[in-house]
Amino acid sequence: MSSSILFVSNERGKVIFLTSRDVLVKSFCSLSNTCSFQDSCRSCDMVDAAKSHLMGTRSNLNIKNLDGELSAGIGEYKIGKNVLLKVMGLGSCIGVILSDVSTGLCGIAHVLLPGASNNGETKYAETAIEKMFEDMVKMGARKNRITAKFAGGAQVFKHMNLDILKIGDRNAISVEETLIKRNIPILAKDVGGEVGRNVIFNPADGSMIVKYTKGEVLWL
């Protein structure tokens, strides 16, 4: 396998490794805030386990393979099964994740605007969530098992005189209202603040990884 995505976990932490040609190229680790190597991942039991897994040997840590990754552009949504879902570079935008653990179907939307669209455009929060929900159900997800997580809606401007730039809060409120209206349970959220985010969903354990553009990583 030339490139694969591994999820490694033990009792201390969890990590996603993106690999290419059997080399670890990128990681999202729940311990990175306290780890002295940070993103460079020189060596630890997780790294060793992943490396030995790539070499074909078994290790005593819990390792799962994911089937690739999907990234949703601005105003799009993507649905997949056992794939890593990503939205990158969120400022005022919101990454909304819907997942059904019982079937493994999950989706991510990159929401740009609050409210609903008259003609089905998925850049609007309400429309994006409803369409993604329906698509997931069509693909076999069970309606009453779908849960939600979302993050984003920052206000990145330190100095600002244009009111239109204050859209993050309205996006967050619109997403939350839509989920409540639809009776979709919200398991986690991380909204507001002044720093942009990358939002990643790990279907192997259902956690939302929020990587702030300034480095900090949260597993929610």
Binding site: G73, G75, L112, L113, K158, L162, K166, I167, T213, K214
Partner: protein
């Protein structure tokens, strides 16, 4: 109103020329300000889908200055987006003050002022040479990845269209200074430009 998806070659050329003249003058101002030679890249005009926007920008954290442009009737004509990669921003601010370290507030307001000067000379040039009046707003400042900075502006434009016109160029100076400049015109700016062209 001009349809962004189907712009003619002429319309794109006019837009490119506006950007060219504007950034040319911005480069001159920057050169005077830093007392250094400033080089200008060949500008590009792209019509892109909003969903692919993130691939248009550099991936590193930038100090971003956003300036809204208005015409005389206070209609929004578009936005100027000036991106200073962090290293360049620190270098510019440091050079202007002759200091290695600046406190954050000073740093932010210096970069905003540089953004202000660049956008003012951009607007001056467009008024002088093309009779297109653009009034710049005071600068808005953020430090983040380029898409995170611009997405609130994009959301405004996305209400009207799924497409966006992006005029992009970069300014650079001898030692590790790089500035990326983008203009995101609203359809009404294109209408104004076409009107003026029609009178020629």
């Amino acid at each position: 109103m001009t349809d962004l998806e189907n712009l003619s070659e002429v319309e794109l050329d006019v837009l490119k020329e506006l950007g060219n003249i504007g950034t040319g003058h911005a480069a001159t101002s920057l050169s005077k300000l830093l007392n250094k030679d400033v080089f200008l890249s060949v500008p590009k005009v792209k019509i892109g889908e909003i969903k692919n926007l993130s691939s248009e920008f550099i991936g590193e954290v930038v100090a971003g200055v956003i300036i809204a442009l208005q015409d005389l009737e206070e209609k929004r004509s578009g936005y100027l987006y000036i991106m200073f990669p962090e290293k360049s921003a620190r270098k510019i601010a440091g050079d202007l003050f002759g200091l290695e370290e600046l406190d954050e507030e000073m740093y932010a307001s210096t970069i905003m002022e540089v953004g202000n000067i660049l956008s003012s000379s951009f607007c001056d040039a467009s008024a002088d040479f093309m009779d297109i009046i653009l009034l710049p707003s005071p600068p808005n400042f953020a430090v983040d990845v380029p898409t995170a900075v611009i997405d609130s502006v994009v959301s405004q434009m996305a209400r009207k269209s799924d497409h966006i016109i992006l005029f992009e160029t970069s300014l650079s100076s001898d030692s590790d200074i790089e500035i990326y400049l983008a203009m995101l015109p609203e359809p009404c700016l294109l209408d104004d430009m076409m009107k003026i062209l029609g009178q020629l």
